[in-house]
């Protein structure tokens, strides 16, 4: 062993905290503190009572938010994680408490969000007996967690927590779950804590492959029509500035997936827009024209690619991706760069030539012009008819100067928000449920985001349908006065499904029309101020009032009932067949 290694080992040894006798429940909370946790979203119950009892003594150090449903807890933890970059932590009891977390866990898994979920479990001698509130939480969460563990002995809690945090946050992040039996919470043991820095069977960050980088650089340098697609990997690896430097040096037009949105300011001249089903015209159309495609921290989701058999067949593809299982999963690549996005971009930068691809970029600009005239202009500045979603978002974008954190639910309003909000702030600013497409995500996620970034303007953009899936979290927002701004775009329809029914099911509007309650009245009942707007003339002032309001606020805007989001690539069609109307 050389001297340097010996020194580190010695330091690590010292890092083990003083030992002392505690209960498993206390040990858990000490371990969370050790990992830098200060915020927990949770809901108590019988099987997690010892932990809640211990929490009573930690109130000064651990802010616990009592959500109104465990699903809200998981989504709030996601929102918190997405805005802060730190893992979100949530607590739930056994059985129904734990199963209520599943949607949030599955959502976090597919969107690579670090979560540490702690669930209480029945006494270990009751495991497998169908005891009261017993569920096989390990089995149920296995397909949707990056890792999970059941702990039945108090002395195993610190190590389980240490591993959980390490796995949740390293490499491609994801949700983990630690299920702790009640006897393990109650038992006393000699506590000590050691952070996990390595697991022998787990390799989170690949070393940079110089050969692959050189091959990628060569392809890029020889390209006539290079094209960058970036996803959330850029944000997760804090590579926003590196992406910018890279595309600026090589003069490459770049388009984003909805998870990558706000990785580059919307008005950057090389930011050509959004990919996928409701993405922009040029980015989809020209996918089938580029000669070298550089995909960075994105996974070629089917909502991005459409029909794979007709996707970018002409292009040489470079895929920069931290998770080796994503490489060649959907699209066969020519150069695989299995690496962290930041490391790869930094290695590429000195190897690529300065370049400008003006004629190629011009093609994107021409498409943008066509799309603007045919689709966007009438959407953002209509003069007659009912209010349109796009003009609401456009106004919000202007009045908040593109600096807000935009949290969206799922549906037409989501696509509209992504298409029309012009992000200027390159800090984490966009939070949505991309992979799972979870309605009900937005309100609790926005709540978690505001808790994580109290000084930023956090705006939840929600449809009338999705709002009603988790609106009980208004209770949590009210109790802790979490200053989120809730913007309900009410079309009295499950709009996105209605759009499909209109376009692909002969307008057979099967169970998508909604008779809604008085949303502002509901907010009022929760002690939250609000306003409802139906007329265009009142819109701007109402939005300004919402933005200026101290504390939480609900603004309902009644919008056009049968509005559609265009452009659109019909599901399973080629991206080149993008429809403008």
């Amino acid at each position: 062993m050389n001297a340097a290694v010996a020194e580190i080992t010695e330091k690590e040894e010292q890092a083990i905290t003083e030992t002392r006798m505690v209960t498993g429940a206390q040990g858990l909370l000490l371990a969370l503190l050790e990992e830098g946790v200060d915020t927990i979203f949770g809901y108590p119950g019988g099987a997690i009572m010892p932990i809640y009892d211990a929490l009573y003594d930690f109130k000064d150090q651990l802010n616990h938010y009592l959500v109104r449903h465990e699903q809200g807890g998981a989504h709030a933890a996601q929102g918190y994680a997405r805005i802060t970059g730190k893992p979100g932590v949530c607590f739930a009891t056994s059985g129904p408490g734990a199963t209520n977390l599943i949607t949030g866990i599955a959502d976090a898994q597919i969107d690579s969000t670090p979560l540490v979920c702690i669930t209480g479990q029945v006494f270990s001698h009751l495991l497998g007996t169908d005891a009261f509130q017993e569920t096989d939480v390990l089995g149920v969460t296995m397909p949707v967690t990056k890792w999970n563990i059941q702990v039945t002995r108090a002395e195993d809690i610190p190590d389980a927590v240490a591993k959980a945090f390490y796995i949740a946050t390293s490499g491609r992040p994801g949700p983990v779950l630690v299920d702790i039996t009640k006897d393990a919470q109650n038992a006393t043991f000699e506590y000590s804590y050691k952070k996990c820095k390595r697991i022998s069977s787990y390799y989170p960050v690949p070393k940079l492959n110089e050969k692959a980088i050189a091959e990628a650089a060569e392809l890029i340098n020889n390209a006539q029509k290079p094209y960058v697609l970036w996803g959330q990997g850029v944000i997760l690896s804090h590579a926003q500035e590196d992406l910018k430097a890279f595309i600026e040096k090589a003069g490459i037009p770049a388009a984003w997936t909805i998870m990558g949105l706000a990785g580059l300011p919307t008005d950057h001249p090389l930011n050509v827009g959004m990919l996928g089903m409701h993405g922009n015209y040029g980015p989809n159309l020209l996918t089938n024209e580029c000669d070298v495609m550089i995909a960075i921290g994105m996974r070629f989701d089917d909502r991005v690619t459409g029909d794979l058999k007709r996707y970018a067949r002409q292009a040489k593809i470079i895929h920069i991706e931290i998770d080796p299982a994503e490489i060649n999963k959907n699209v066969r690549v020519d150069v695989a760069v299995n690496a962290d996005a930041k490391a790869a971009l930094q290695a590429l930068l000195p190897l690529i030539n300065e370049n400008k691809h003006e004629a190629w970029l011009q093609k994107f600009n021409e498409c943008a012009q066509i799309e603007y005239t045919k689709v966007m202009a009438p959407e953002i500045a209509p003069t007659t008819g009912k209010v349109k979603m796009a003009e609401v978002i456009h106004q919000v974008s202007e009045l908040s100067e593109g600096k807000a954190v935009i949290v969206t639910d799922v549906g037409q309003h989501q696509m509209t928000a992504m298409r029309y909000y012009r992000f200027k702030d390159m800090r984490r600013s966009n939070i949505t449920s991309g992979g799972l497409g979870t309605m009900g995500f937005c309100l609790p996620a926005a709540m978690g985001a505001k808790v994580g970034a109290p000084d930023r303007q956090v705006i939840a953009v929600i449809g009338d349908g999705g709002f009603q899936m988790t609106l009980q979290e208004l209770g949590c927002i009210f109790q802790y006065q979490i200053g989120v701004k809730v913007l309900i775009l009410n079309n009295n329809f499950l709009g996105m499904v209605r759009q499909w029914q209109q376009l692909f099911h002969q307008k057979r509007y099967s169970f998508t029309e909604m008779v809604n309650p008085d949303f502002v009245g509901i907010a009022k009942a929760y002690g939250i101020s609000g306003n409802k707007v139906t007329e265009r003339d009142n819109l701007q002032e109402a939005i300004q009032t919402m933005l200026d309001h101290q504390g939480p606020y609900v603004l309902e805007v009644v919008v056009e009932k049968e509005d559609n989001v265009f452009p659109m690539v019909p599901a399973g069609d080629s991206v080149a067949n993008i429809r403008l109307s």
Binding site: P143, S201, Y202, Y203, V205, P206, D323, P324, K329
Partner: protein
């Protein structure tokens, strides 16, 4: 990963042997089988045992599928936290065996030595002799154990069982070399 060693084939289905070397963790078998069930792929056989390295377990999984699919399956298995290494090989790159046991009534032995002759000719062996039955054991490829089954059938087979495949690769690299190489590829 072994996938670099082979030519990508045309999408035809073949028998592949997947090996996974893992820690001994509760629930890991479940996590590994989920990789198959999610993709609606049937496992032909699965065997888990100790490996040559202490505390390391070896999964031998047989699937019939395409190269592209098995490549993805292996990456998903390798991705599980407690999996040390996963790889896959076409049939011709492995040496493999299965074990079969046959229980036949003692009465079939009484009229002459025909069964004994079959056992000898098939390179099988008699494991147990009881006043009521005898148990025969044979190791070999599936065709061989099936053939013996057919030969013994006329005497009445009371019970028959065949194990999953166990397999060993032909190449010479050992696990610790692989693990070292793998570790070197990461920070």
């Amino acid at each position: 990963m072994a996938i670099d060693d082979y030519q990508i084939d045309s999408g035809e289905e073949k028998t592949y042997t997947i090996f996974a070397f893992t820690e001994n963790k509760v629930g890991l078998l479940n996590r590994i089988t989920i990789v198959f069930t999610r993709r609606h792929i049937n496992i032909e056989s699965i065997t888990v045992s100790e490996s040559e390295v202490q505390n390391v377990y070896r999964y031998t999984i047989i699937v019939k599928t395409t190269y592209a699919q098995v490549e993805k399956l292996v990456k998903q298995i390798a991705k599980q936290v407690d999996v040390l290494r996963a790889s896959f090989y076409p049939e011709e790159e492995t040496i493999f065996q299965e074990i079969a046991m046959y229980k036949i009534p003692m009465s079939s032995m009484i009229n002459g030595s025909q069964v004994e002759q079959i056992v000898r000719d098939s390179y099988a062996r008699i494991l147990t002799v009881d006043p009521q039955y005898i148990i025969i054991e044979k190791t070999g490829h599936i065709e061989e154990t099936r053939e013996l089954f057919e030969k013994l059938s006329p005497f009445g087979i009371l019970q028959f069982v065949r194990s999953g495949r166990v397999a060993i690769t032909k190449h010479m690299k050992d696990l610790s070399t692989y693990l070292r190489e793998q570790e070197e590829a990461y920070l």
